[in-house]
Symmetry: C2
Subunit: 471 residues, 2 copies
């Protein structure tokens, strides 16, 4: 990309060790963004022409690369597992890709405190497997765990399935090391639960999608592996009953509640139709997936039974099934976790990831359904209800400009009117950065732009992402 000044042709004069320069860009990122996240705004094609992908092995190499690029006004795009849904890790023009794939070492794990220190390129699922062997788990879990990198998770402030129980990465990340655009290594890699010495600089990098620096190593607090896990799938007649079940659930399951997910009938239909998964319950307008994770098999089962009895007796749920063994747990989770995959078989998918106060959360799905009428093939709503996070997905036979026009800015305006967030957990990346004003005040965006300018005065770090340009 052209950044002016004494720019050189990307990669032509770089002189790093051989393993660093790995391969010519294979259009994988572009392919992924179309195959896996055909969003409503995907009509904005990401026609990247990167010619160079670098794979540093350590922080020093990242520092050398960034210093070199910054001195010569060469733009870069950090890339982890490239599983994001908003184009945050995909170059827009010919940015040099800095892949974290070779920075995949565990540095240390403390058995007493549960703090894990590792390089940024460790794959989330690998870390979880490593920890399980020692009686711990990662505090986050998400569908892309098999390929996403922990550095990318933190750079995007990933949410996912365990947030309800273990909180956000802003609380569980204890420290990090990042390389600033000018090559300066910022070492904030401590492993302390408490540290009030000055401003918490690591927070600047969590969720900034690689626009302020490249996270090279992290320290994270890991919870103990629960010795008892149960999953229940329940059918519900109305969304107001779903909310009542949520309240009951928090009263009776309390500290062992680890997930409260919901999906509507339409999203259940899509996994049955396209993936041939079996719904063990009778047909219902809504389904709830509850997971408990605790330290006592007997106590957890008793709590769950008391809760289920009350939920059935009071008519809040019409049917239910409980899974305690691993294979059944997996098959129940599949009904919820594989909705995205099933939707991809349904046609062109328009995706929205929204935070909305829970009471009003499903009203948007209903209004969207009425608004689109028969122009949409399906309008589905599902998500992490316990976190107020709705995934609103719409499908059509093929991409339709008129459908996009009916959806946007309607969805964003509705969300803003209800004090929600237009990106709950996916971030803004390239695709949504100009929609930031629906969720943030002009003063806030201006301060973000000033911070970006401060840390990356030449604008080489992941340009065109997250924050709208100052102009």
């Amino acid at each position: 990309m052209k950044l002016g000044g004494d720019r050189e042709t990307a990669g032509m004069r770089l002189s790093f060790s051989r393993h660093c320069v790995a391969l010519i860009w294979s259009k994988r990122a572009r392919a992924r963004i179309f195959n896996e996240s055909p969003q409503g705004c995907a009509c904005i094609a990401l026609r990247c022409h990167s010619k160079l992908l670098l794979r540093p092995k350590n922080t020093e190499e990242v520092s050398n690369i960034l210093k070199y690029c910054n001195d010569r006004n060469l733009a870069v795009t950090p890339q982890g597992g490239n599983t994001g849904l908003v184009g945050g890790s995909v170059p827009v023009f010919d940015e040099i890709i800095i892949s974290t794939a070779l920075m995949d070492k565990v540095i240390s794990f403390d058995q007493v405190s549960g703090s894990l220190v590792c390089q940024c390129g460790c794959i989330l699922e690998s870390l979880n497997q490593y920890l399980e062997g020692q009686g711990y788990i990662m505090p986050l879990d998400l569908g892309a765990k098999g390929s996403c990198h922990i550095g990318g998770n933190i750079a995007t402030n990933a949410g996912g399935l365990r947030l309800l129980r273990y909180g956000s990465l802003r609380g569980t990340v204890l420290g990090l090391e990042a390389v600033l655009p000018n090559g300066t290594v910022l070492n904030c890699l401590n492993s302390l639960r408490k540290d009030n010495t000055g401003y918490d600089l690591k927070q600047l990098f969590i969720g900034s999608e690689g626009t302020l620096g490249l996270i090279t190593a992290i320290s994270i607090l890991c919870p103990r592996k629960p010795s008892s896990v149960n999953v229940a799938l329940l059918g519900c007649e109305s969304f107001s009953k779903v909310l009542q079940v949520f309240t009951l659930c928090r009263d009776l399951l309390g500290e062992i509640l680890s997930a409260f997910e919901f999906q509507d009938l339409e999203s259940m239909n899509v996994v049955q139709t396209h993936l041939k998964l079996m719904n063990p319950l009778q047909e219902s307008p809504f389904y709830i997936l509850i997971e408990t994770a605790g330290s006592s098999v007997q106590h957890d089962e008793e709590k769950l039974n008391v809760f289920l009895a009350k939920a059935l007796e009071s008519g809040l749920v019409n049917s239910g099934t409980v899974a305690t063994d691993q294979s059944k747990i997996k098959s129940v989770w599949a009904l919820r976790e594989r909705i995205t995959e099933a939707l991809a078989h349904d046609g062109y998918v328009y995706k929205y990831d929204l935070s909305i106060p829970v009471e009003k959360l499903y009203a948007l799905v209903e209004e969207t359904r009425v608004r689109l009428g028969r122009t949409a093939k399906r309008v589905v709503g599902y998500g992490h209800l316990g976190d107020g996070n709705l995934h609103l997905n719409i499908t059509s036979e093929s991409h339709s400009k008129s459908l996009v026009a009916a959806l946007e800015p309607f969805v964003y305006e509705w969300t803003a009117q209800h004090c929600g967030s237009i990106s709950a957990e996916h971030g803004l990346g390239f695709k949504k950065r100009n929609h930031i004003y629906y969720s943030k005040s002009p003063e806030a965006v201006q301060l973000m732009q000033i911070l970006k300018k401060l840390l990356d005065p030449k604008g080489i770090m992941n340009p065109y992402k997250t924050i709208p340009s100052s102009g």
Copy 2:
């Protein structure tokens, strides 16, 4: 204080509504800092000469005050309950004090999600009482709860007794509103658990001790009030056994563990001697206070009994007592919570609030004891072991320069060598800001200074606090 430029005499030309200008500064802050926190470095006297204390009632008034002061280069010190231990809320010279005492309104509380929105001057204990009536509690609790303000808690990133269970304020604070030094109101006051739209600006203000802006309102996620609370006090023969009990505790109490505090014999002696509190156990080198909080009385008691039986059988603890009723719980907690108060009766107190990896945590107390020999009256160690937080306190008959010289920089260097933090939860304020380099790299401190300069170019916000001057 002199900031140069067209400075006016503080308060002489201010023209706010009457309730705003409350009283002439009464040296209360100075008195407090000597009476309640006679620290090792208290030889640096805080000789403030503030002549004006303003008590705004709302954000607009705060904005007007700051704009006025910024335009005229008048320095200000935000002040909540003024309970801090490092002089963060005490003016150094004649800074205008902006008290948050009249900004004490609850704005809203959402019964389903548990999110509380309130003004910055609400007293922590009052908020907790308000929430308890609705089946919730605040996610933080600390000794100063009766007078500290929630805005001050967040500005100092307060830790306290519930951090082990509910995590830090960086995770539980959902949003905040802050007024920047130039009077700009920055509204980041959402109540969403997930919001990934741009940089998380609220984190800049959490823990920055009023040096970047004044927090005027907050939104915080509150946990349900537990229906069952138990407290156990245990005696232990060695610190290595204390650590083994911690591991056992996390295995067997799991999700219901809400506090794991420890205190050594010397700190038990001090509460017995000066406050005449009764120790229900036999004399032991160490005591552990464990609290459980859960949703089932029966399950929690069973878990606690299994844990206690195992801890006693295996010889990890030599004695123990369990409290389930409110008055006994209170009297057991008093043994740990009133150590600070008891120490004040013992003489001059040198206080250190440190984060240290748990395995090495008590070694510092032992080394300090050996180092000081008979020059100190007492060397005591206690704290939030579950968070790796040691409170190291030393007493002498009166203030002694030679004792300070024996303690500093020894304590800070020891902490730095063991990768700890020289301020776990108290912050740096005025007293410790120049010690920041023991816990933070020069690159990190430089970036903090740049951020301070960016948000407060004239340096009017709480000068001489938290960050060392750039020069």
